[in-house]
């Protein structure tokens, strides 16, 4: 019996052991492990994100370039619906019965107690039609959303477009959730963080079927959505619009910069498209079409296309040679056509003459003196050292190294250096090699025809440097951020390696290009505007099936005006259209006149450009065949 009496201790032990296990478990669940708190929040709270309106984008004259428009998403909470008549409802929502069924199945699959979108981005007028009947369908309700609208159908390459975030965007920035919109290009992308604003959050308590039963903690943790900051960009909407009209039926680009600030006044890439084509639901319909268009309208030629600069490059040769003291402003070289081809003209006496007449042999000689400075006995070594000096000067003009523009996809041009000819040219597998080349091998670069490539933006920046006599700001669009500041990089002057006084003879030549008989750009003349410019004509060809076809020259012009206190610097590049003076120069002058005077006097000049169809023939054929 004694033995059996001891059993009370075993019973007492069990009676304390089990509660002890419970207490350990409870301590773990309630105090240590946060998992259940998260689960509880997921179960009992409904976090509703309120989306802010995006910041508005204005041009330099406070004209709206990008604004917001209200749309309606129709959403459903499957558990709250009361067997709606699918046919009626699908008809009301303006979708097919199949689509309605599919969307409803998706919604049910996603969550029975959380909302899913049934119809996206219903325009306000369509919603107004169905709004009175919505009450008949419990569980279905509208959610206000804003989408971008572009009041003027201009500058799509600058302004950019928006689309739903992809998985990469969400990975990069946890701010985004699936279905959010994000700027995918242009200003929309560059200033995404400024424009997007702050999301608001409302915490609701919900019951087991997902109905709201009140605010969590009386709304203590709720935040309001804050609209994104408005920004003012440097674009002049009127000038941009005018430039786009001028570029109609032409392929190429225009970039205009205010030299004193580096602000980009216009950036036109043609062919173009209406930015409103890529808004909301239309994005899906149109993006593919634009992508497949053989005219590649989505491509921003102004910032991405690398072009031969042609004779415009001669300006830089003259400046570098004078700064290196291998010539002075009075240097005279005969037009020796055995060196390089030229047109007929009087002998260029001095740099100003050389620029005015755009004499190829003259700049052959000038550039040869930069590259072959005679500091080394070996002709080849001399060229190798000279080329890197030459390239360093060009880098200081912002070429090749990147202009830090506030557009997301900006390319840099190309300035060849010693390494390039030693190791990479003519081909990676069979380059010239060290000390195997000299100026005579690479002389085409002197007249902008060799391996040098510039973008239109770089060309315009060269024009701005000419206007400023030796310095520039990185070209940019941002002027003002409400509640923010313009990045310092756009407020810092960049100095070239050429002294200001060296610019005088070159600018003198540029003025004479436009104003004097025998100048190459008489068509660019506008009375009283003192336009200074330089034409360029770039030979080009295309290879089809191994055969080389000479194509029509690219027509190039860079300019600034007025000569003193310049207000605008510009580059115009018209592909496959002919001489620089024929098309690019008058287009540049029209842009300058429009910007400075607000209007163009010479309507015949304007009409000639507006009516010209300079689309390259091969492209025209494509167009017809499409």
């Amino acid at each position: 019996m004694k033995n059996i009496d001891n059993r009370k201790y075993i019973i007492a032990l069990i009676f304390t052991l089990i509660p002890l296990i419970f207490i350990v478990r409870l301590f773990y669940m309630q105090v240590v492990d946060d998992k259940w708190k998260e689960r509880a929040a997921q179960i009992s709270e409904n976090k509703v994100i309120t989306y802010p309106a995006r910041g508005i984008v204005y041009d330099r004259n406070n004209t709206k370039l990008i604004a917001n428009e209200v749309y309606y998403d129709i959403e459903v909470i499957p558990n709250q619906t009361e067997n709606p008549d699918s046919v009626t409802l699908a008809g009301l929502l303006g979708i097919s019965l199949e689509e309605y069924t599919e969307q409803m199945n998706k919604a049910r699959h996603h969550s029975k107690i959380k909302s899913s979108v049934i119809v996206k981005q219903m325009p306000p007028d369509e919603f107004a039609m169905i709004a009175p009947d919505m009450y008949k369908f419990p569980g279905f309700y509208e959610v206000e959303r804003t989408l971008r609208v572009y009041p003027k159908p201009i500058a799509p390459h600058v302004l950019g477009y928006m689309s739903e975030v992809d998985s990469g965007d969400i990975k990069r920035d946890s701010w985004y959730r699936s279905g959010d919109m994000i700027g995918k290009s242009g200003i929309e992308k560059s200033y995404e963080k400024v424009l997007r604003g702050k999301k608001g959050v409302k915490y609701y308590l919900q019951d087991a079927v997902g109905r709201e039963t009140g605010r969590y903690e009386g709304g203590e943790y709720d935040t309001l959505a804050e609209q994104g900051d408005n920004i003012y960009i440097s674009l002049d909407a009127e000038l941009q619009e005018y430039g786009e009209r001028l570029m109609h039926n032409k392929r190429g680009s225009i970039v205009a910069i205010e030299p004193s600030s580096g602000e980009i006044l216009a950036m036109i890439s043609s062919p173009s498209y209406d930015p409103n084509l890529l808004v909301g639901r239309r994005l899906g319909q149109n993006f593919g079409k634009l992508q497949q268009d053989t005219l590649i309208p989505l491509y921003n030629r102004a910032a991405q296309a690398k072009y031969l600069p042609g004779s415009t490059f001669k300006l830089l040769m003259a400046l570098i040679a004078m700064q290196e003291r291998v010539i002075d402003s009075t240097a005279t070289f005969a037009c020796d056509k055995s060196l390089v081809g030229c047109h007929n003209h009087p002998t260029a006496r001095g740099v100003s003459d050389g620029v005015k007449m755009s004499c190829n042999p003259y700049f052959y000689q000038v550039t040869r003196r930069i590259i072959q400075q005679g500091k080394h006995k070996s002709h080849f070594k001399d060229a190798a050292v000279g080329l890197d000096i030459w390239a360093d000067y060009l880098y200081s003009f912002g070429l090749h190294k990147g202009l830090k523009t506030d557009l997301p996809a900006v390319e840099s041009g190309f300035i060849p250096n010693t390494d390039f000819y030693n190791n990479h040219f003519p081909s990676e597998s069979n380059p010239y090699g060290e000390f195997r080349w000299a100026f005579s091998t690479i002389y085409s670069n002197a007249i902008g025809q060799g391996e040098v490539l510039l973008t239109s933006l770089e060309l315009a920046n060269v024009a701005a440097i000419m206007a400023n006599r030796g310095w520039f700001y990185y070209p940019h669009f941002i002027r003002e951020i409400e509640g923010g500041t313009v990045p310092d990089v756009y407020k810092t002057r960049q100095h070239t390696k050429v002294d200001p006084e060296k610019f005088s003879p070159v600018i003198d030549g540029m003025w004479r290009v436009v104003h004097e008989p025998g100048g190459t750009a008489r068509r660019a003349r506008v009375d009283s505007l003192d336009i200074c410019g330089k034409t360029g004509t770039a030979e080009n060809f295309k290879i089809y099936n191994g055969k080389r076809y000479q194509l029509k020259d690219h027509s190039i012009f860079i300019a600034f005006a007025p000569r003193d206190n310049p207000k605008i610097a510009i580059s115009v590049y018209i592909e496959n259209s002919g001489f620089g003076g024929t098309w690019a120069a008058p287009i540049a002058s029209l842009m300058i006149e429009k910007y400075i005077n607000g209007d163009v006097k010479d309507k015949r000049k304007e009409d000639r450009i507006l009516e010209a169809d300079l689309m390259p023939i091969e492209i025209m054929n494509y167009k017809k065949n499409r």
């Binding site: 019996m1 059996i4 059993r7 009370k8 075993i10 019973i11 007492a12 069990i14 009676f15 304390t16 089990i18 509660p19 296990i21 419970f22 207490i23 478990r25 409870l26 301590f27 669940m29 309630q30 105090v31 492990d33 998992k35 259940w36 708190k37 689960r39 509880a40 929040a41 179960i43 009992s44 709270e45 308590l205 919900q206 019951d207 087991a208 079927v209 039963t213 969590y216």
Partner: protein, 456 residues
């Protein structure tokens, strides 16, 4: 008369009374919080659950008072009569209309009573009477796995089995599996009284082995250091062999030589039985259970989670308890376990522990667990101070019933026990259980208060 009245109250165990009062009042306040409806705020509104609970507590306490004025011997003598009446009720209730698929209610208007709750009381009384009157277990045969031992066991215990079996089967017919399981709590009493041998210990060990087997049976793991991959079942068998080896060494060096042979035999026998049992459990699990049942077992064992399907209830319950944190969300601040949100199902009855733990946090849940533990230990100590065998057995019956309810209800809410719908004694909403547990306790208090004058 003054003397008599003094006698009634002088030896009452006020600790148990105090714990009772704390439990029922916390219970009411907790139900009030769980079902609180701002549009219908009255505390004594009989349309509400807390209102009904208060009414039932009142009825229970009134009956308790009457019990205090009865003579203890009357209760002892009436044991089988009470048992008989309750059995009758359990039979009649089977012919009542089904509510939620079970014939378990006598409904009177919006009030109802479940005779199955009273069934425990009936069994407790009858079992006490039976065991107290039967002669103490005489020459006990040493346990062995032989037919003669089993027939001996049956011969001694068949009346006990009948007393337990009739209400258990009747309850199962309703069907009410939860209450059926509670009837196994009487094993505790049988164990204490020497009628169940070491069956209780074997049962506990068997359950532990079974649970471990089910958890690890279909897993494989790497043996540390040896880089040998092995199945879970092999692991259990090896663990059992190692344990057997340890016991062997213990016997070899601790036990007197002449006592060793039977212990060796018992050890080897147990080892073989254990290994067979492991295989049997695994075989039974994979052969007899369908996927649905396997899923339920896996959910209970925590091998899988299915928050929106099979595991919905337990997921919500755990989230409610876990989110209470250290100090809780505050009174009437539960966001999961309240009648308004309905995230936790049956939060005023089976899952009442969730509301309490969500609003009162770990401090609250610790306090409540402690309260039940004190009550259980207190009842054991009350049992052990009795000179009356009847009272001692009855006290152990009460302790067993309370313990089972507490263990399964709280264990279920925190995911340590399967989901079995039984109330938390005196705390959950439910008139029948309040009545049954109150009567169980009041009878115990009454019998205990006579401990100095009753010898039987």
């Amino acid at each position: 008369m003054r003397g008599k009245s003094e006698k009634i109250w002088s030896d009452v165990d006020w600790t148990i009374v105090l714990i009772y009062l704390i439990l029922v009042s916390l219970g009411v306040s907790n139900i009030y919080s769980a079902v609180y409806n701002p549009e219908n705020p009255g505390l004594f509104n009989l349309q509400t659950e807390h209102g009904k609970q208060i009414m039932w507590i009142g009825v229970s306490m009134f009956l308790g008072l009457i019990i205090m004025f009865l003579d203890g011997s009357l209760i002892r003598q009436a044991s089988f009569w009470i048992y008989g009446v309750i059995i009758l009720m359990l039979v009649v209730v089977l012919f009542m209309p089904a509510i939620n698929g079970a014939h378990s209610w006598f409904a009177i208007g919006s009030f109802g009573i479940q005779p199955s709750e009273l069934g425990k009381l009936g069994v407790a009384l009858a079992l006490s009477a039976h065991l107290a009157n039967s002669p103490p277990a005489k020459t006990r045969m040493s346990p062995s796995i032989s037919l003669s031992y089993l027939t001996h066991l049956f011969r001694v215990n068949w009346k006990t089995l009948v007393i337990l079996g009739i209400p258990a089967i009747l309850v199962l017919l309703q069907p009410d599996a939860g209450t059926f399981i509670i009837f196994t709590s009487f094993i505790l009493v049988l164990y204490r009284e020497g009628h169940a041998g070491n069956a209780l210990l074997f049962l506990v060990i068997a359950i532990i082995i079974a649970v471990i087997t089910l958890i690890v049976a279909d897993t494989t793991f790497m043996l540390p250091f040896l880089k040998i991959k092995m199945g879970g079942k092999v692991g259990i068998v090896i663990a059992l062999l190692i344990m057997a080896l340890i016991f062997l060494l213990l016997i070899r060096y601790v036990v007197l030589k002449r006592n060793r042979p039977p212990l060796y035999r018992a050890l080897i026998g147990s080892l073989i039985v254990a290994i067979l049992f492991v295989n049997f459990i695994e075989w039974g699990y994979s052969t007899f259970l369908d996927d649905h049942q396997k899923t339920r077992i896996d959910l209970v064992l925590g091998k899988i989670e299915d928050p929106d399907g099979e595991g919905y209830n337990i997921n919500r319950a755990k989230a409610a308890i876990g989110s209470g944190g250290f100090s809780g969300k505050g009174y009437q601040q539960a966001t999961l376990a309240n009648a308004h949100q309905k995230h936790v199902p049956m939060q005023s009855t089976d899952f009442i522990f969730c509301t309490w733990s969500e609003e009162r946090g770990f401090i609250g849940s610790f306090f409540l667990v402690l309260l039940y533990t004190i009550l259980l230990i207190k009842i054991v100590s009350v049992a052990e101070r009795q000179r009356s065998t009847y009272t001692r057995i009855y006290a152990y019956c009460v302790a067993g019933i309370f313990f089972y309810h507490f263990m399964i209800n709280v264990g279920m809410a925190i995911g340590l026990a399967p989901v079995i719908g039984i109330p938390l004694p005196l705390f959950s909403y439910g008139g029948s259980q309040v009545l049954a547990f109150s009567l169980l306790l009041f009878i115990l208090i009454k019998l205990d208060s006579e401990r100095k004058i009753v010898l039987q």
